[in-house]
Structures are given as structure tokens and as C-alpha cells.
């Protein structure tokens, strides 16, 4: 293992400390329990928006704390959900009297830890939404259900903008559910990644192999196949999304092509080009886009595609100003 770390146990805290130094005008952190929060929180009368999850997906979630997005983020150990004391601390910190929304990705650990935190938060009204946008996973009563992946970034942006406008907790929760109902994702991995504390790759994959439907923690997806062209691979992860969303001619969408951490921007644009061709073919109009590493899996090579069905409200909220370490426009 060759990584820029000092001591494995200090990795998450030192990374958070560095981010908060680099963006000291926007964010600060509490070391124990570890929480990244907006410098100007709590804002009286504004609904607090909190998310959290394992570390290793940077800039998500800490990098999305700031104006027009999250009020606080709770980083867990690498690929491990945060603990209830973190979410409880964050909830109390950002509560400006209008309640707090918890944005939870659908993993058993995240769901349970956020549930315990909501039970512990006395005196604050808490609503929770669970995002499950990964079409690689079969959804059924007998499984954990779909994972929360790339759609989380878009959800946090749109809901954060609505909170910034001063909407109440019910309206914000309803918008969050609306986004979740209209966003789908799927990813692929060309290489594995090494969790620092483990020191060895999370999974083995041959030089000529691709994992289709990878999760953001290196969990396997639908199938392991031999390497193909970028267009063929993009088809494999985009067509299931189009099908699952039931996109029809004339609809408007946001396309988000994301790097798993190790795939360069140039390759992401090759993927985006193919996604655009597929949507053109179906008469679907791409009116907004996001391309880059926003929800990563450490140094894994790979990419994911996320498509969000847009309406006027969501387009307006997407365009609203955002100023966070990992996302900035309109400011």
C-alpha cells in the first residue's frame, strides 16, 4: 500500500482538518464526535440539512457543506457509516428552530445509525429521507434494497437550495422524496481500491475485467465481464437507468457522469459523449450536466452515470447559488 497518510488511525481527522483549513471561510469541524459544519450555522428559521456516511467518497459529504447545500456532514471511518453521537451532535448544532432533515444513503449501517440518532435527538423535529438510486441492485422485500450512490450529490444540492430559500421542513422533505423518485444511477469499476486500515485491495479484479454495477464501497454489482470499449461499457450502465426511469421523448434531464476517484476527466467526457448520444436517440433533452469526481471510492478507477428527470422547480434549485468546498457556482 502506497498512500499519502501519516497514521491509519489519524487519516479521516487529518483529511477533515486539511479541508477545513483550505476552506476556513466556509466550514469548521468538531473533532470529537467528528462533524463538519457551516461556519454560519445555526441560522434562525432555516431548516438544517445534514448528511453523513463513510469517508473515502470525497468530496461527498464534507465537501458539500456550505451555502446552498448541507449545514453539517458526519464523516465515518473509511467506508463505514458514522455513529449516532455524531449525527446527534450535528442535529443539535444546526437546529435553527425550523427542524432538521437527515439525508441517509440506503445501507443497513447508515440507516440504523441515523435511526438511533433521530431517536436520541430530543427537542428537535427531525425528518429522514433514504436515497436508493442504484439500479444495479435488484430491489425486493428480501434484500437491503437499492444503494444510495450518485443521486445523493444531486439530492443534497437541490434540497440545500430549497432550504436556503426558506422553505419549511415538510416542503423540503417532499422535494427530497420527489428527487429520490426521479433519479437513478449505475456504475462500473476497472480497478479495486485499498481501505487504509485494511491495507489490501477490497476485491481482486483482473487486468482485463470490469465489474458492472459496482457500489461506492467496492461492493460487487451485477456481473464481472471482460473489458470492452468505452461506448459498450457506457451502454451497459446507462440503458438500465433510462429503462428504470421510463424516460420518454421530450423529457428534460440532468446527466451526471462521476469518477470513482482514479478515472481522469478526459475519460469521463468520453462516457458523457456516449450518454448524450443514447439520450439523443430517445429524444430526451439534456438541459443540465455535471462531470467530475464528486462521489468517489478512494483511488478506484471507474465511473458512474446518474440521470435526474428535471422539471422547472428542480432546474431552478439546481441553478441556485452554491458555495461549498466541493461545489461552487453563482456566488
Amino acid at each position: 500500500m502506497k498512500k499519502l497518510i501519516n497514521a491509519v488511525d489519524d487519516f479521516v481527522l487529518e483529511s477533515v482538518e486539511g479541508m477545513c483549513r483550505a476552506h476556513a471561510d466556509l466550514v469548521a469541524y468538531n473533532p470529537d464526535p467528528i462533524v463538519v459544519y457551516r461556519k454560519d450555522t445555526p441560522r434562525q428559521g432555516k431548516v438544517g440539512i445534514i448528511s453523513g456516511g463513510g469517508s473515502g467518497h470525497e468530496p461527498m459529504h464534507g465537501g458539500f457543506v456550505g451555502l446552498g447545500m448541507l449545514d453539517a456532514a458526519c464523516p465515518g471511518a473509511v467506508f463505514t457509516s458514522p455513529t449516532p453521537d455524531q449525527m446527534q451532535w450535528a442535529t443539535e448544532k444546526v437546529d435553527g428552530g425550523a427542524g432538521v432533515l437527515h439525508i441517509v444513503k440506503n445501507y443497513s449501517g447508515d440507516v440504523m445509525n441515523f435511526e438511533m440518532a433521530a431517536e436520541l435527538a430530543e427537542g428537535t423535529r427531525v425528518e429522514s429521507v433514504v436515497i436508493d438510486d442504484d439500479v444495479a441492485v435488484k430491489d425486493s422485500l428480501y434484500t437491503q434494497g437499492r444503494r444510495g450512490v450518485g443521486g445523493t450529490v444531486l439530492l443534497e444540492k437541490i434540497v440545500g437550495a430549497l432550504a436556503e430559500e426558506g422553505a419549511d421542513l415538510d416542503a423540503i422533505t417532499a422535494m427530497a422524496r420527489d428527487v429520490i423518485a426521479n433519479v437513478r444511477s449505475m456504475g462500473l469499476a476497472l480497478t479495486s481500491c485499498i481501505v487504509p486500515a485494511a491495507g489490501t485491495p477490497t476485491f481482486e479484479i483482473g487486468d482485463d475485467e470490469v465489474e458492472i454495477g459496482i457500489g461506492i464501497h467496492g461492493e460487487p454489482g451485477r456481473e464481472r465481464i471482460k473489458m470492452e470499449s468505452a461506448d459498450q461499457l457506457t451502454d451497459r450502465i446507462t440503458n438500465p437507468i433510462i429503462e428504470d426511469l421510463g424516460l420518454t421523448s421530450g423529457e428534460k434531464v440532468l446527466v451526471f457522469v462521476n469518477s470513482m476517484g482514479g478515472t481522469p476527466l478526459a475519460e469521463l467526457y468520453v462516457v458523457y459523449r456516449r450518454v448524450a448520444q443514447l439520450l439523443d436517440g430517445g429524444g430526451v433533452e439534456i438541459t443540465r450536466s455535471l462531470v467530475g469526481p464528486y462521489i468517489t471510492s478512494l483511488e478506484m478507477q471507474g465511473a458512474s452515470v446518474t440521470i435526474l428527470r428535471l422539471d422547472d422547480d428542480k432546474t431552478r434549485l439546481w441553478d441556485a447559488p452554491v458555495h461549498a468546498p466541493g461545489l461552487r457556482w453563482g456566488v
Binding site: A77, T83, V195, H217
Partner: protein, 210 residues
């Protein structure tokens, strides 16, 4: 009889075995999960040792609640809330007693099992820690009802946990991250069932003075 001193010794024994077997637990989790089960339990039980009262210091509920709070606060993932809920329910059941009889210990362990079911919403056969814990507690109840000494009853429970753990190998996971693998999860032993066997074996060994 089961005493506060034994609960403290049980926790220390569990922590020591988690240290010994952390790499093995993590490897099992790399095969069908996200590869951190041993690391996470190690972090949790190290914190539990720091918070654990001394032998003879306080009651059973206090000792087990300290373990619970350390696990809930330090483990994360699914195993943090699940094991945390297990020890917390035991702590509530045992309360201010400093020593309980065999049936009361079995009842407390059963309360722990029920708390894991309530938190995780898994069923037997889903390839989870319940598949080791369920058979272990059934064996314990049967042995205690039959009037066997606690040491023997807990040996039977640990053996049943081991059988349950091995029986997870052919199962297809239906809960947690392993469920994403579907059929590909078959052929691997469940890491959670493995750590549950470790916990039950540590209890049996502690009571038997091993």
C-alpha cells in the same frame, strides 16, 4: 450464577480475541461485504476496555452498558448499532444485579437477541449474525431448562453458534451489504455470524475458567 466480575472478564476475553482475529474477520468481510468488520470491532472493543468498570466495581447493567455505549459510539457500520443494541438490552435486563442465576443470564441474552432483530429487521437464514446467535440461545435455553451447570450449557451454546456460523456458508445473503451479491454471496462464511460465535465462545470460556 453469573457475576459482574464474569461480565468484565467476558468483555476482556472478547476484546482479546477480536484483536487476534481482526484480520480474519476483515478478510471474510472483503469476500462478501465492504472489508472492515474486524477493523471496526477492534476499534469498538478497544474503546469498551477503556470504559469498562473494574471487576467488582458496580453492577452487571453498568458493565454491559459501558460496552454497549463504546460499541455504538465507535464501531459504526451495521455491527455498531447491532452489537450495541445487544449489550444495551442485556444491560437493561440485568439492571442493578451484581450476580444472577443461570436462567436470568439466558433471559438477558435472549433480550439481546430480540434487540438485534428489532434493530436489523433480519430473519433467521438471511446470512447474518442471527444465524449464529439464534441456535446458540436455543441450545442455552434447552440446557438451562434441563438443569445443566452453566459452564456446560454455555459450551453447548458456543458449539451451536459454531454450527450456525458454518451453516451460513451456503446461504444467499438477504440483509446488509452482502445481499448486493445475490447468489454470489453463497460459498462464503458470514463475518457477522463469525464474530457472534467469537462472542459466545468467549462467554463459555470465561465461565469455564479457560
Amino acid at each position: 450464577m453469573f457475576s459482574q466480575e464474569q461480565a468484565v472478564a467476558w468483555t476482556r476475553a472478547t476484546a482479546a480475541r477480536v484483536e487476534e482475529r481482526a484480520t480474519e474477520l476483515t478478510r471474510l468481510d472483503q469476500a462478501i461485504g465492504d472489508g472492515d468488520h474486524g477493523i471496526n470491532l477492534q476499534r469498538g472493543f478497544r474503546a469498551a476496555l477503556e470504559r469498562l468498570p473494574g471487576a467488582g466495581d458496580g453492577d452487571l447493567g453498568g458493565a454491559l452498558k459501558a460496552v454497549s455505549m463504546a460499541l455504538i459510539g465507535k464501531v459504526g457500520g451495521a455491527s455498531g448499532p447491532l452489537y450495541g443494541s445487544f449489550y444495551l438490552a442485556m444491560a437493561k435486563q440485568l439492571g442493578t444485579a451484581t450476580e444472577v442465576d443461570d436462567a436470568e443470564l439466558a433471559k438477558a441474552l435472549r433480550a439481546g437477541y430480540d434487540a438485534v432483530v428489532a434493530r436489523g429487521k433480519a430473519q433467521p437464514g438471511d446470512k447474518t449474525m442471527l444465524d449464529a446467535m439464534g441456535p446458540a440461545l436455543d441450545a442455552l435455553d434447552a440446557a438451562v431448562d434441563a438443569g445443566q451447570p452453566l459452564g456446560e450449557a454455555l459450551d453447548a451454546a458456543a458449539a451451536a453458534a459454531e454450527d450456525g456460523m458454518r451453516a451460513t456458508i451456503p446461504l444467499v445473503a438477504r440483509k446488509g451489504r452482502a445481499s448486493y451479491l445475490g447468489e454470489r454471496s453463497a460459498g462464503h462464511q458470514d463475518p457477522g455470524a463469525t464474530s457472534t460465535h467469537l462472542v459466545m465462545q468467549a462467554l463459555a470460556d470465561t465461565v469455564n475458567g479457560r
